[in-house]
Symmetry: C2
Subunit: 152 residues, 2 copies
Amino acid sequence: MSTEALKQLFAKSGLKFTNQRYLVYRAMAEAKDHPSAETVWRRVRVEAPAISLDTVYRTLASFEARGLVTRVPGGGEEGRFDGDVTPHHHLVCLCCGSIEDFTMSGAGLDDLPESVAAWGQPRDAQVLVRGVCRKCLCKMEPVKPESEKRRT
Amino acid sequence: MSTEALKQLFAKSGLKFTNQRYLVYRAMAEAKDHPSAETVWRRVRVEAPAISLDTVYRTLASFEARGLVTRVPGGGEEGRFDGDVTPHHHLVCLCCGSIEDFTMSGAGLDDLPESVAAWGQPRDAQVLVRGVCRKCLCKMEPVKPESEKRRT
DNA sequence: GTACGTGCAAATTTTTTGCAGTATT
DNA sequence: AATACTGCAAAAAATTTGCACGTAC
């Protein structure tokens, strides 16, 4: 997204264009790992060493309120954010905390049962899968005989 | 569940039977509102005023590790727990934080696409719907601001 | 120029931990 | 008796807030 287009987007959302917001937005758009606020902070600090963590928190919160980023549920302790606001689902590793995307049909906003309408007004729907990712499964393997171990 | 049966369950999970655990377990089994640790604490204190919040945290954590309770994702800040460990889905109100259950088919562990198997080993799968519950929608109705966002 | 945005530091909130005494098996 | 559990208080981690200055519009 060009700087100009981003300026437009911010203006449309009622946000002034600042370097901090620009950097946070770019970091989120490029990130594929659903970073925490602190992780975003570490990344943008490369280009703007003076940016404060508070600003990153505030920026992400205002982005979230305007639908420019999403908060990923199930990450546990730390808040994790997603720059991809198109509908998709998440795989959360209970071991290392990594979060990955996946897609499947039949579980979107339009596929919810009528009972949901009685509850209120849904804003988003997603499948959340918690488990252990392959990398962590491998790390736990060592209990197995080495004949089966295929490691570095 | 009888006290005896619960004793068995704890023993099977490698947990000693204590009054604190008994009370926390019962509170979770009876709760239908996915309480936070602090809420559970307030409830069990009625019967055991001396129980500490730390113990509730530790107890819920050990229950969770043994699959006796589940942590509900998407609640945001506070950790929320669910005494119902059978597969079901959740509706989370972004306004008041209330969490309700709902059921639907086609989004269980057995319905996941193959891509998930490549990721690792899923432990549970659920649909998470975030939105605004009816009670909060009502509260917001009267506050229909006449002023649209002022565009400069 | 005005209102919003930012950095700093301190405050809040939620959850975890060390330790010594207590209760369960 | 051995070991796990609990309460207390303090610590840690994550996020928010008040305030004065700076910057976009």
